[in-house]
Symmetry: none
Subunit: 203 residues, 4 copies
DNA sequence: CATGAATGAGAGTTCATTCAT
DNA sequence: GATGAATGAACTCTCATTCAT
């Protein structure tokens, strides 16, 4: 039993190592420029070895994609102890933005990339994403019910909120704000988000 | 002189043909899946010929990138005859969103792609982009001065606005809204933008 | 002794299981498309295990090759109770053709494949094959002696007979008769063989 | 004009060189063991070059397959000046057998290989083959009409003939007759075929 | 001006086999 | 006896790019 357990653990560690390395390379050079071979080189294994842990390249991307959504969802959960729904929503937005900025390649995979992994498209593999979206929507809904936000179709307000934070993250990590001096960025980002939230508040 | 002039003109036409064809292919199949060879095939020239008009693939992308910004800027200009600055801003947003949805591959190049063209990053090649941004910022500024929007740092409000419309476009064209039934999309998009603009209005 | 005996028996059973499974896969998908790994997967052992029972892939093929000849020889024996040598020969031909059509992958290994197993070529590993050939030759010889077939060098007449039935089987199983409608095939096959036998009969 | 002509010629020569080299390698080592790379190595070009002349591996095989049928058909035509249909048939058989023995890899591709080239299977790509078959059938038919062969269904007699010569060729080139001393082979082959033709003759 | 010919580099993937445990 | 882990060597194929003509 001890043995099989250890085996299992080692296997998981190897998968982890591969994913971690892949992510690191992706971060450094962008998805498009990273091949299975390069990942293998980096961890000093043969390319064939990777196929012992992942069926194909798709599966690696898919695994990372899921990892990303898990992380994001976990972050969202941390807001649950905030009573005031508007403040909770506010916090959610901040966490979302920070997550994106700090994990640009996860974010890329989750929300930007033209999906290279067929699996992600094909099946109803958006569960994890939808879960997060649902969580957000519920929060928006609560805000409205509590009279903290102007009434509107929940779907629309939620999308509006999401569009904003996504816009912020993706403009930054795709380097469309290079003219803004780096030291200003945090101010602009926070300011921009707060500006939106502020106006969202019921008048 | 007549000769050199004609030469120049022909050269431009050829460049135009290449760019046009490239864009058509990009649109149909996505950047990643279009090779120089395929572009060459389509215009029925040899791949080598393309190198007579463009230094390399990057330069094609860069040219298209600029083309996109020209188009966008031209669109923006059409709002100039709207007197009310808020309405003008509103219109600008709508035009921006439509531009993105209708020209996803230009949009991709301009605002999403991890800069494929080194040129775009390296040199201060954002002029065209900045011009558009400046135009937008002036409009926001005007709104504030006219008391039509809550006061705030202009930079911040502008970025906030941009983030929103960019968020909308990029979530859609990168297919992160596939769960939303296609026939609903226009409603959500317009609703979401209007929702934001509505709350932006000074209370 | 009991122990070593049991061991021996188990070993044989395992070899049998491997061979059986391999053959099943070969039949379903053709030799070229079956890897050791897939055989291992099917019997739910590790690939490495197979190497405990067979030196390499070749040895598996060689074993199956022999199995095939055993089966064919056994079939031939069933004709021994036919007194009339010509009828016996006739029956032998029919059995041969049926064997080939019903066991295309055995047949493939025995008579068509470019020897995959070096072993088959190298050593004088044709014993089993020769035994069958001898059996056939004796039958032909008997026919001539009994005046039922035109006199000729036995070697030649035998080879002629073999060539014919082999031709029939191999054209069919290698799908060189796809233009013949499937429902006609049996008629053509039997007809063709009978036609030859009929003319073989002494006039 | 001279130039394009020369170009065309050179292109054909290159295709020829590739096909020839491929065939040589196939002959030496069997289809299964020859890769595009090895062909490229042998002609001292890069693998990519081959793709300038052939769409993919399939196309090479398909080209050779056709070449083979062209050659065979051309051989058949040489019998046309033989008046006596039975003698003509006899000659056809000899030519067929010789063709197979002298061009084992063409023969392999045409009549033995489990087709690796999808093209060969899919479309009605048997035209060339059927043409040859038709030619043979007509000859058989003529023999019957002339009372030189026993009456029978033409289809059946033709198939019987084909099966025989195919049997002879394929047993030899797939080395199922290794026990027969090489110097005897020609005698056996000719004898076997003549034996069959002799008995085919109307009694 | 245009191109045909060529290629180095590299992609993802599969396979038979080995070996320490 | 059985295996999990690993791999070297191979595969087909694509791409951006160059250069002599």
């Amino acid at each position: 039993m001890g043995i099989t357990e250890r085996r299992e653990k080692e296997k998981k560690e190897m998968r982890g190592l591969i994913l971690e390395t892949a992510m690191k390379l992706f971060l450094e050079e962008g998805f498009e420029n990273v091949s299975l071979r390069r990942i293998a080189d980096k961890i000093e294994y043969s390319p064939a070895t990777i196929y012992l842990y992942f069926k194909d390249k798709d599966e690696i991307l898919y695994a990372l994609h899921n990892e990303g959504f898990e992380k994001l969802y976990a972050l969202q959960q941390t807001t649950l102890d905030i009573k005031d729904p508007l403040k909770r929503l506010w916090k959610q937005g901040e966490l979302y933005i920070n997550f994106g900025l700090e994990n640009p390649e996860y974010y890329n995979l989750m929300f930007i990339m033209r999906s290279p992994a067929k699996k992600i498209c094909e099946e109803n593999q958006w569960e994890t994403g939808l879960r997060s979206y649902g969580f957000l929507k519920d929060n928006v809904s609560e805000c409205m019910e509590a009279g903290l936000m102007p009434m509107a179709e929940v779907e629309i307000a939620t999308f509006s909120f999401w569009a904003h934070v996504h816009g912020v993250v993706s403009l930054i990590i795709r380097e469309r704000c290079v003219i803004i001096p780096e030291e200003f960025l945090p101010h602009i980002i926070k300011g921009s988000f707060d500006f939106m939230m502020e106006v969202f508040k019921k008048k």
